[in-house]
């Protein structure tokens, strides 16, 4: 195949620096996939961790597949060819195990597309040899019909069990049985989970299926695996820097946040370990930009020590460093002098709600007065821009809260001459967040609030606001909170051509609207939380 005929051919070559190529002979062939384009998938840390852990084993060969762009999809269909892994160009239906990392619900139809292009039967019950694993999901139920085995929780915590089971037998059935008896794995086909009398009834379908299903977590982050032989693309990717994870989980209690419970509890990596990882990755990749990754960098107890230990190295080697989740007080406090030495990057502040009272309601504890204080000293940092995150559609929110977002942006534009980029999202009651039993705000009200915000925003060349459509928020909430009936909607919408739904430019509501109607989905019930428990309630908290 001549890849030069496709847009951005590097997406499909699989010749990155540090790529691992092994012969399949005598090895268990595994292919891990990400249901979005190469540039997005290669920016995902989880996928890299899994790739490296599995390839450490000499009897396993782990390769990658991403969602192909339209041109390659069309080519494969027209020429009746199968989608292939990047490393050895092996068709997907020749692997024993396929594993998908889902971190965005809106990509579920892309996943069905990858299966179809790879020649993999869509439904679990249709498969004879291949096993399809799914990870990264909080609520597995909407895609339960398409996945043989879910990994619930963090991969590093189950990787040894996974490898052991794959080695023990090559039979699909025997492997599935072994997984069903191992904590952290969930086999949906062994259970029914239907809505009866307004409540979800989770029932094992045979005696051997365990009654309780658990999420598993890494206990010791310092000694957990971190990939250092860094796979370095030859073309730009979305997050074109090396993320070095300094902590996992979050000690804060923001009511809307799903991630704090998805990665639990709060664990920190020692600065010495972080430093070692940074040096190893730089030596292996030559990457010119790094970022210190965590849900909330400001809560990292060893930040001063870490920065003191690495800033000179970054300066000598001319490596850029960004700290994407800092709080404003760090800019004014003891870290100020250290942060001023960073190569230019952007300041990110998750404000969420512009007025104090609402911010208190959602347990987001930041002092906004400091943001304006900080605006005055921002010129002493090398920041290129300020990025702000807001949300609307919260319970008990008023129109004043919406206008306050616009006012805050106005005031900031006046106090600083940096570019401001604001990302405004709608509050969605995501599974296992503190507010999981809240409802998604009515569509009509969301539309009114959206219009109010758009009309109040200041006009400035320095301001860039991103605001997803209300319909895509409704869909994301449905896919996040859905039960097994939502799987039918996903499949139907896919047949109607719904692809790349996470891309604002490409998102279309029509196929979803028709799919919901045709499948008779009780989707309002799911959005409005009118059930006494949830489709995901069977997973131990």
């Amino acid at each position: 195949m001549d890849f030069a005929q496709f847009r951005r051919p590097q997406r499909y070559i699989g010749n990155e620096w540090n790529v691992i190529k092994k012969s399949h002979k005598g090895r268990i062939p595994v292919c891990i996939g990400y249901p979005d384009l190469y540039e997005l998938g290669m920016s995902n840390l989880g996928l890299r961790i899994i790739y490296s852990i599995l390839n450490e084993e000499s009897d396993i060969v782990c390769e990658r597949v991403f969602m192909p762009f339209d041109d390659l999809s069309q080519y494969l269909k027209e020429n009746d060819q199968r989608l292939f892994s990047l490393e050895s160009k092996t068709p997907l239906n020749q692997f024993q195990v396929l594993g998908f990392n889902f971190n965005a619900e809106l990509n579920y139809t892309n996943f069905l597309h990858i299966l179809e292009l790879g020649g993999i039967p869509r439904y679990s019950h249709q498969r004879k040899d291949v096993i399809v694993l799914g990870g990264g999901v909080v609520n597995p139920e909407p895609i339960a019909d398409f996945i043989d085995i879910f990994v619930l929780g963090e991969f590093e915590a189950i990787s040894n069990d996974l490898i052991k089971i794959l080695r023990s037998t090559s039979s699909r059935q025997a492997r599935i049985e072994a997984f069903s008896q191992t904590p952290g794995f969930y086999i949906p086909q062994l259970y029914s989970n239907n809505l009866e009398n307004n409540s979800y009834l989770f029932k094992p379908l045979n005696e051997k299926a365990p009654k309780s299903i658990k999420r598993v977590f890494v206990k010791d982050l310092d000694n957990s695996y971190y990939p250092t032989n860094w796979l370095t693309p030859h073309t730009a990717i979305i997050q074109d820097r090396v993320p070095v994870e300094i902590a996992r989980g979050c000690p804060n209690l923001c009511t809307f946040c799903q991630a704090r419970k998805q990665y639990y509890p709060y664990r920190q990596r020692k600065p010495q370990k972080v430093k070692e990882i940074i040096k190893k990755i730089y030596k292996s990749s030559g990457y010119e930009n790094f970022s210190l990754l965590s849900l909330s960098a400001s809560d990292y107890s060893y930040m001063q020590e870490l920065l003191d230990g690495v800033l000179d190295y970054f300066r000598e080697q001319r490596i850029g460093l960004s700290l994407p989740s800092l709080r404003i007080d760090d800019l004014l406090g003891p870290l100020q002098e250290r942060l001023q030495r960073l190569k230019s990057s952007s300041l990110t502040v998750a404000v969420e709600a512009a007025q104090d009272k609402l911010r208190k309601d959602i347990q987001k504890n930041i002092d906004i007065k400091q943001l304006f204080e900080a605006a005055k000293v921002l010129h002493s940092f090398n920041f290129k821009q300020i990025k702000l995150y807001f949300m609307y559609g919260f319970p008990n929110e008023t129109n004043e809260d919406i206008i306050a977002i616009a006012d805050m942006l106005k005031e900031l534009l006046g106090k600083s001459n940096l570019k401001i980029s604001a990302s405004v999202n709608v509050f969605m009651p995501k599974p296992i967040s503190i507010w999981e039993s809240q409802s998604l705000e009515d569509e009509k009200i969301l539309e009114e609030k959206r219009a109010l915000l758009l009309n109040s925003l200041p006009r400035s060349k320095r301001l860039d606001v991103s605001l997803p459509s209300t319909k895509s928020t409704i869909l994301e909430t449905l896919l996040a909170r859905g039960d097994r009936t939502v799987g039918k909607v996903i499949e139907n919408a896919y047949r109607k051509g719904a692809l790349f739904c996470g891309d604002n430019e490409r998102f279309k509501w029509a196929p979803w609207k028709n799919a919901i109607e045709e499948e008779g989905s009780a989707y309002q019930k799911i959005l409005k939380t009118q059930t006494s428990n949830f489709a995901w309630s069977f997973i131990d908290k």
Binding site: F3, P9, N15, W17, H234, T235, G286, R318, S344
Partner: protein, 98 residues
């Protein structure tokens, strides 16, 4: 096989240089980067030769530099020939080109 744009090539060369322990010359200022200049451009998807000038902060052994860099270049990207110039000579060539 490798496909890249001119912009990709800058990153590929920069990262390859950074992986070696050669004394790379960085530009000054807030946003220092590896200095690389091209005598001509290449089209995506077309095989060809390109002349690249790499800058070092001190004198390096020509053979050693070529060898080191070759070890860190991806498959499909090769060094055909390398010659060494002082900054004076480069600037002289530049003036002549104008």
């Amino acid at each position: 096989m490798i496909y890249f744009s001119q912009l990709d090539l800058i990153h590929i060369l920069e990262r390859a240089l950074r992986r070696t322990d050669l004394p790379i010359y960085f530009t000054q200022g807030y946003n220092p980067h590896v200095k690389i200049s091209f005598r001509s451009g290449l089209k995506l998807g077309v095989t060809g030769k390109i002349e690249v000038v790499l800058y070092f902060s001190e004198k390096v052994d020509r053979e050693r530099a070529i060898q080191k860099l070759k070890e860190h270049l991806p498959m499909g990207l090769n060094i055909l020939k390398g010659s060494q110039m002082s900054l004076k000579e480069i600037n002289k060539l530049r003036r002549q080109a104008k």
